[in-house]
């Protein structure tokens, strides 16, 4: 009980935040932070714990968003059903992707996923009859004008994701994921079906990311292929969120999401430099890799060191 106290305090704070009269803009930033935490947590299952680094999570994000959008567009039902529908859709997609990509190892897997996001973007652009192509999909009647409910929905998704990931990582699956990350051949000879468990990690990771995508469709009310399948703005940012926050940590994705979203907003508001945000992100990533290779959540002791009295050992 004592251990979960900080968790409950954070949860309580998050629950009352919208009630203290934040501006619409502030609430929008919070929604983005929580959405990015969810994507980061999803990526972390595959890239952080299982060690299969993906540079194509936009593929899953976009699939989720399009699942929601197309349900609304073709069947005329609420796009919120996308949150549920994307579970089977993304599981099947992940199985297909896994069958093709998971036989590759290390950098080759990363390259394959990188191509994947691009392939899906081009596909969505060209299947004009099905996806409306570059015109995108617009939800004409937004569910709420206020952002409060959106905030609570994505918070619910994020909390569910957090608990699910924690549960999975502390179980047999978690041990197997990490074993595969540390040494795939050794894992095989320990009786671990590496192909199967990598596929499970991919399905879980893809589905969680897809749910964030489905939420995005509902929240923004408009998507097109360049918005939900981009390499830089989704795939790379996902990797950065987790790397800055802390790879293979529970809180890393949330910490990374706070930093990345705030940073993106701050940089965007700066005159002239605003357009160079990708350059600045790149520089930040280099610093993180050199000085905090385990991210903020993993290396927070290092960060605290300058504030400690001299002579105190870590």
């Amino acid at each position: 009980m004592k251990k979960s106290l900080p968790l409950l305090i954070i949860l309580a704070l998050l629950l009352i935040l919208p009630l203290i009269g934040l501006s619409t803009y502030a609430l929008h930033i919070l929604v983005l932070v929580i959405m990015w935490s969810t994507i980061g947590m999803g990526w972390n299952v595959l890239g952080g714990y299982c060690g299969q680094v993906s540079f194509g999570h936009a593929a899953f994000f976009g699939m989720g968003a399009y699942t929601a959008g197309l349900l609304y567009f073709h069947l005329g039902i609420s796009a919120w059903w996308g949150l549920l529908a994307c579970i089977p859709v993304l599981t099947v997609t992940s199985l297909v992707i896994g069958y093709i990509c998971l036989r590759l190892r290390g950098a080759y897997f990363a390259l394959a996923t990188l191509a994947l996001g691009e392939v899906l973007r081009v596909t969505a652009e060209n299947l004009v009859k099905f996806t409306q192509g570059d015109l995108g999909i617009l939800i004409k009647q937004r569910t709420w004008v206020e952002k409060t409910w959106f905030y609570y929905i994505i918070l619910l998704v994020a909390i569910g994701t957090f608990l699910l990931v924690k549960k999975v990582i502390e179980s047999k699956l978690g041990y197997y994921f990490v074993a595969i990350r540390e040494d795939q051949d050794a894992a095989e000879s320990m009786g671990i079906d590496t192909t199967l468990y990598k596929t499970i990690a991919l399905c879980l990771s893809g589905t969680l990311t897809g749910m964030a995508g489905a939420f995005y469709m509902n929240y923004m009310g408009y998507i097109d292929p360049t918005v939900v399948f981009p390499l830089y703005d989704i795939s790379i940012v996902t990797v950065m969120v987790v790397m800055i926050g802390g790879v293979a940590t529970y809180w890393g994705p949330a910490i990374g999401a706070v930093i990345m979203v705030f940073l993106a907003e701050v940089i965007r508001s700066m005159p002239k430099i605003g357009a160079a945000h990708q350059t600045l992100f790149g520089i930040l990533l280099i610093f993180i890799i050199i000085f905090l290779p385990n991210g903020i959540a993993g290396d927070y002791r290092k960060l605290l060191r300058p504030f400690r009295p001299k002579g105190a050992s870590s």
Partner: protein, 240 residues
């Protein structure tokens, strides 16, 4: 009764014949030593038996079942554990977590896996180091960890690939004791070893490979006196 049967196994890498027509059996409960000069194909044979490579020709039978063409994890599930010549601990995990991950093969719950891991760690004497990150362990302990991890999968047969290489004499004695204890549990062992004193003292039988072919098989005394084996290790005698 034979537990493992290697029947006419050949393994070619492109034009290189790493193994040619190797046939022998490992009996239940014995320690079989596999020796040979560098590059004789010992580790390749392990990799074929263990499922990392499919044999080019020939078959491997384990407990009467054909296991060649199965994957390593399937073979492990059937009761064969192995260690690697170059130790491969799961580096950023603690010793205990390494063994727990392995124990999950037979355990139904985390509690059961942990109990099994504790038991294996006590068996090999690594219990005191259970909370150390495996990357930081000294070589001797990492070699022991490999064995502990293989034992945690509750194998009927253990393949040990040069577990003694790089160990000091006291660590070697320690490991000999462990291997004898493993045998005492009824686990069959096939061991690759360069250290002649060790292999001669622990093996019930020895198979000798040279250039991928089996050149001798027999008990340690026969092998020690076999002219072919001496030739393979020391070179041909010069005719006077």
């Amino acid at each position: 009764m034979s537990l493992l049967e290697i029947r006419n196994v050949s393994k070619h890498f492109g034009g290189l014949a790493a193994l040619t027509n190797v046939t022998y059996e490992v009996n239940k409960g014995e320690i079989l030593g596999l020796i040979g000069p560098n590059g004789a194909g010992k580790t390749t044979l392990f990799n074929v038996v263990n499922g990392f490579y499919p044999p080019t020709e020939g078959e491997v039978f384990f407990k009467g079942e054909k296991v060649s063409h199965l994957k390593p994890h399937q073979i492990c599930k059937r009761g064969m554990g192995r260690t690697f010549q170059v130790v491969r601990p799961l580096q950023r995990m603690t010793t205990l977590d390494n063994v727990i991950a392995s124990a999950f093969l037979r355990a139904k719950s985390k509690a059961e896996a942990t109990t099994m891991a504790f038991e294996s760690l006590q068996f090999t004497g690594l219990y005191e180091d259970r909370n150390a990150v495996s990357k930081g362990l000294p070589l001797g302990k990492r070699k022991k960890l490999e064995i502990t991890r293989a034992l945690a999968t509750q194998p009927e047969m253990l393949l040990l690939d040069e577990s003694f290489a790089g160990l000091n004499p006291s660590e070697q004695n320690d490991l000999v004791e462990i291997i004898r204890k493993v045998k005492g549990r009824g686990i069959t062992i096939m061991v690759i070893e360069h250290h002649m004193k060790v292999i001669m003292s622990i093996s019930d039988r020895i198979v000798v490979l040279n250039y991928g072919e089996k050149i001798a098989e027999g008990n340690p005394k026969e092998i020690g006196n076999n002219p072919l084996v001496i030739e393979a290790y020391l070179g041909e005698a010069i005719d006077a």
